[in-house]
């Protein structure tokens, strides 16, 4: 094996930040050079992601078995407290690694229109990519936490410097919310560290896989109250990121103020870190509590679906509407996970991937119209369909994908979630299904107000979507369609791990 093959996850994680270091050395004023360096630095991980896709053995499940992880890199980092540099991929992380590489690259391309402080912007976006990749690749809790937090700083600056009129408020709100969640996670992490033993050495460990073997837990950590408390600590940390109701209030602010490409990353990748964290950490380490807590989690998921859709229905700002649609869609992920069935879990994974693609399209599209009209009021347009037909086609495509039209990825994922959770939570799923009506409603209503009806003369000369924007949208659209029609490749990627995860959790009943 060559260096690239044996360090593929590290390369995917650190190439972007390396690129950031390079572009910081570019002299002022050469904005185009900076843009292309950034594009290259985010394109390389995408190439590697394609390599991952082909090299990944879909029969290995991973989750809690170290030998079944692929592309593993395992080194000692801080021996005195047993922090390890431990990376690896399985079916839970694979779709998200690929998604991160794709969305980050498109976000960089989509940011070529940024003209203010290009160097700082591109450096931060690359640093952000490193943080996100690292989170999805880490199998050591300490490492995971470091990446989890590293991502906060670039996000704060990206929203705070390049954002809209209320950027300062939105940036600090995002920062404070997430930090509050992560300090709880830190405490839970330390409590886990001191109350588990590495079965090989007997010392304390940060290795997530060791935590999953319940035999490593000491007597204190076997107590129900303690486990519940730790689970809830982690859960709040993750739920803020998802964001689950009632921790979601940072999201509309952050989304509305963030520049387009940052909204794309925020909704496309960052939100998934919350549900990913639950799958990777909370569920397998505390299977008993997961089962105990399944109903509340499902209820929260359904609240997200319905409440998010209702909020979206009430918005007059297109971007805020899309933001709330994310709240709604992440509810499906939660519901599917809480069901603790293989289909539900696979559906949740699928929904994460699919929502990443769709919501990225939606935010790009909102950005397109905002760049031209300089506002996003749904009622401020009208009849745009006649002026910008290609743009209208893209928006219609994305909206239909988002509302779950059959033949698109969202439909597959949502159906799997419903199928997987129906047995477990019948009444809840019925409520959620009714929520779908609202989801359809806000999409169609917005579509009607913006693109149909009499043309608003102010926008009679609105510029059509340009080639660069289409370049960002087309790959996403193709994938949405491909997954919608033939989901098996993605299904195969995540299925074994979803089944293993459910088995692992169910084993305690």
């Amino acid at each position: 094996m060559g260096f690239v093959d044996s360090h593929i996850l590290s390369l995917m994680t650190f190439l972007p930040v390396l690129g950031a270091a390079v572009l910081l050395c570019v002299p002022k004023g050469k904005d185009d050079v900076i843009r292309w360096i950034a594009a290259a630095a985010s394109f390389l991980p995408l190439v590697l992601a394609v390599k991952l896709w082909f090299a990944y053995d879909r029969t290995m499940a991973g989750v809690n078995v170290a030998s079944q992880f692929q592309f593993v890199e395992h080194y000692s980092w801080i021996p005195s407290i047993n922090v390890e540099y431990f990376m690896g991929a399985d079916g839970i992380s694979m779709p998200l690694l690929i998604l991160t590489a794709l969305i980050s690259f498109l976000a960089v391309i989509g940011s070529f229109g940024i003209t203010n402080k290009v160097k700082g912007y591109m450096a931060l976006i690359l640093l952000l990519e490193t943080g996100m990749m690292g989170v999805f690749a880490s199998l050591d809790f300490f490492l995971f936490y470091v990446f989890w937090e590293v991502m906060l700083l670039p996000m704060y600056f990206l929203i705070g410097i390049w954002g809209g009129p209320r950027k300062e408020y939105a940036a600090i709100k995002f920062f404070l919310y997430t930090l509050a969640g992560s300090v709880l996670m830190l405490l839970a992490l330390l409590a886990l560290y001191f109350n588990t033993a590495n079965p090989e050495t007997g010392g304390h460990t940060f290795n997530l896989l060791h935590y999953m073997a319940q035999g490593t837990h000491n007597a204190w950590l076997k107590g129900f109250d303690v486990r519940l408390l730790l689970f809830i600590g982690l859960f709040i940390g993750f739920a803020i990121k998802v964001p689950l109701f009632p921790f979601h209030t940072w999201l509309p602010d952050a989304h509305v103020e963030a520049p387009t490409a940052i909204s794309v990353i925020l909704a496309g990748v960052l939100l998934k870190m919350g549900t990913y964290g639950m799958m990777r950490i909370s569920f397998p380490i505390f299977p008993d509590i997961t089962v105990w807590f399944a109903v509340p989690m499902a209820v929260l998921g359904v609240i997200n679906i319905v409440y998010g859709a209702l909020c979206a229905l009430a918005q007059s700002d297109l971007k805020k509407m899309v933001a709330y649609s994310s709240v709604s869609h992440m509810g499906f992920v939660m519901l599917g996970m809480a069901a603790l069935t293989p289909v539900g879990m696979a559906g949740a994974s699928m929904q994460m991937f699919s929502h990443g693609l769709i919501t990225a399209m939606l935010f790009f599209l909102v950005g397109v119209v905002y760049d031209r009209a300089h506002h996003r009021q749904i009622d401020g347009f009208g009849g745009l369909g006649a002026v910008v037909p290609i743009y209208t086609a893209f928006v219609s495509f994305a909206f239909f994908a988002s509302l779950g039209l059959p033949g698109m990825s969202g439909f597959i994922a949502e159906q799997m979630v419903f199928l997987g959770s129906f047995e477990a939570f019948r009444p809840l799923v019925i409520v959620a299904a009714v929520g779908i009506v609202f989801v359809a409603a806000f999409h169609l209503w917005a579509l009607q107000r913006v693109f149909l009806g009499p043309l608003n003369p102010k926008y009679a000369t609105l510029e059509e979507i340009n080639a660069r924007e289409i370049f960002c949208l087309a790959p996403l659209g193709i994938l949405v369609m491909a997954v919608g029609i033939w989901p098996m490749p993605i299904m195969n990627l995540l299925n074994a791990s979803a089944v293993r995860l459910v088995d692992l959790v169910k084993a305690v009943i």
């Binding site: 005195s80 407290i81 937090e149 590293v150 600090i172 920062f175 930090l179 509050a180 405490l187 001191f194």
Partner: protein
């Protein structure tokens, strides 16, 4: 091993080096006509540099009691001497290009600074209450002079006055506590006092003594409620002196706090690396309460500050609160966490103050509004300050995070969960006010957009302070080991 006066000298080289430098500075001051030359600064640099090198000369081996048991020579003392001397070194560099101090006699300033240093050396190794009291005063009195060094500036004079009054009160209360201890045990040696107290004494005098001594030490580390002096002193004193106060005496205060309480009111436990309370008072609980109150008050009051020096003053109060967590756990890992934290705190806090010096040199102000747009006016300094501030918040990949992890970890390990939760929430609060400065620097546009030049020497200083803040956040094994070894060699 108990050493006599002459035999102790080889273990007293750093102190001798500093003393010699002070005397040379006095001579230089008297002899030189040019009061504002930079010669005293270089002399002080050489002296302190020599002291650092000499600290490492004779490795401690086992601990030694030097000067007939007046002081200890052990890994713990050496750790603090190196740390404090290094902080002083940075402060000397800072002082040399401070505009505030321009035009004033530098030699006198450095004499006071180095006298404080000498006091802190002695304080971190003192094992006799007489020695301890004298070295505490040797730290305090030159500090008063440093705080009031900007003669004619109202704030500075006020600072010095407050400092004197508070300091005198605190040390008065403390020495009363010492006298109680002496009365109960008939000894001035802290090890002996500890032995006698462990054999059982009336509760009330012990409690009184423990609390009264806590006042004196609490004042030195600026723990709430003995912190009132610090914001005014920090604001009024010349900024390099403020930076100095926020790190060095605090470190020395922790050194003496640990040595004194762990010797007098606690003794080694049978479990390795653990202590147990030997007196009749649950002093760790008292300090746990102080710790929680200190960090909370520090952080909450910092939110409202608009002067950056005052803000950093309250922030350093909060940090004393964090570090106190390590003190109440009666474990060597807890003390190690304090030592580790002090190392990272040194770099990030001095770094933050150094940027304040640079900005106030250029703009003449120290308000948050003076930092507006620094991101475009002096990008390098602004990025460095952001690193320091986020490190102070405790966000990875900066070293402040690792420092907090060690503290939190040991608190959780010992099962003091409420304290861990208070501290974690405090970290979130602290983000808000640190981010206010960052917001001014990067998120707001300056009214005056002219570039602020950062001289190459200042840039080098920033790198010197920012690099460890970054590197120790990614690889900190050596420092952790150094702290571990130092605590193991805590002789008494």
């Amino acid at each position: 091993m108990l050493l006599g006066n002459l035999g102790s000298l080889p273990y007293f080289l750093p102190e001798l080096a500093v003393t010699a430098t002070i005397l040379l500075l006095v001579v230089l001051h008297v002899a030189s006509k040019q009061k504002t030359s930079s010669a005293p600064g270089f002399l002080a640099l050489v002296g302190v540099g020599a002291a650092i090198l000499l600290s490492g000369v004779s490795s401690p081996g086992g601990g030694k009691a030097i000067f007939e048991g007046m002081a200890a020579y052990d890994g713990f003392a050496v750790f603090f001497k190196v740390l404090i001397a290094f902080a002083t070194l940075v402060v000397i560099l800072m002082s040399m290009d401070s505009e505030e101090l321009a035009g004033r006699s530098k030699a006198e300033y450095f004499i006071f600074l180095l006298s404080t240093l000498l006091g802190m050396f002695l304080l971190s190794s003192a094992t006799d209450i007489v020695m301890l009291y004298l070295s505490l005063e040797l730290v305090s009195i030159p500090s008063y002079l440093l705080a009031g060094y900007l003669k004619g500036k109202e704030h500075s004079t006020e600072a010095a006055m407050k400092y004197v009054v508070f300091g005198a009160t605190a040390s008065g209360v403390m020495i009363y506590g010492f006298s109680l201890l002496f009365g109960m045990t008939g000894s001035t040696q802290i090890a002996e006092i500890g032995r006698v107290l462990a054999s059982g004494k009336a509760a009330l005098p012990v409690v009184l003594a423990a609390v009264m001594v806590a006042v004196g030490f609490g004042y030195k580390i600026a723990a709430v409620p003995f912190h009132m002096w610090s914001p005014d002193v920090y604001e009024g004193a010349p900024t390099p002196a403020t930076a100095f106060f926020s790190v060095a005496p605090k470190a020395a205060g922790f050194a003496v706090l640990v040595r004194f309480y762990y010797t007098v009111f606690a003794g080694p436990d049978t479990a390795a690396g653990m202590w147990r309370i030997t007196s009749t008072m649950d002093w760790p609980l008292l300090f746990a309460g102080l710790s929680a109150v200190t960090m909370t008050v520090g952080n909450l009051v910092a939110i409202k500050q608009s002067n950056v020096k005052r803000l950093l003053a309250y922030s350093s109060i909060a940090h004393a609160g964090y570090m106190l967590m390590g003190f109440v756990l009666l474990s060597s890992a807890g003390i190690e966490a304090i030592l580790f934290y002090l190392v990272v705190y040194l770099f990030m806090n001095l770094g933050a103050f150094y940027v304040v010096v640079l900005v106030s040199n250029a703009t003449g102000g120290e308000d948050i509004s003076d930092f507006t747009g620094l991101g475009s006016r002096a990008p390098f300094a602004a990025v460095a300050l952001s690193i320091f501030l986020f490190s102070l918040t405790g966000i990875p990949p900066f070293s402040g995070f690792i420092g907090k992890v060690y503290l939190f970890a040991e608190v959780i390990h010992r099962g003091v969960y409420w304290l861990a939760i208070v501290a974690a929430l405090n970290s979130v609060v602290s983000l808000y006010y640190y981010a206010r400065i960052v917001r001014a620097m990067f998120l707001q546009e300056p009214t005056d957009a002219s570039a602020i030049p950062v001289p190459a020497a200042s840039g080098a200083m920033l790198v010197l302070l920012a690099a460890p803040t970054l590197i120790l956040g990614v690889y900190w094994e050596p420092v952790a080991r150094f702290a571990h070894a130092s605590v193991r060699m805590l002789a008494y």
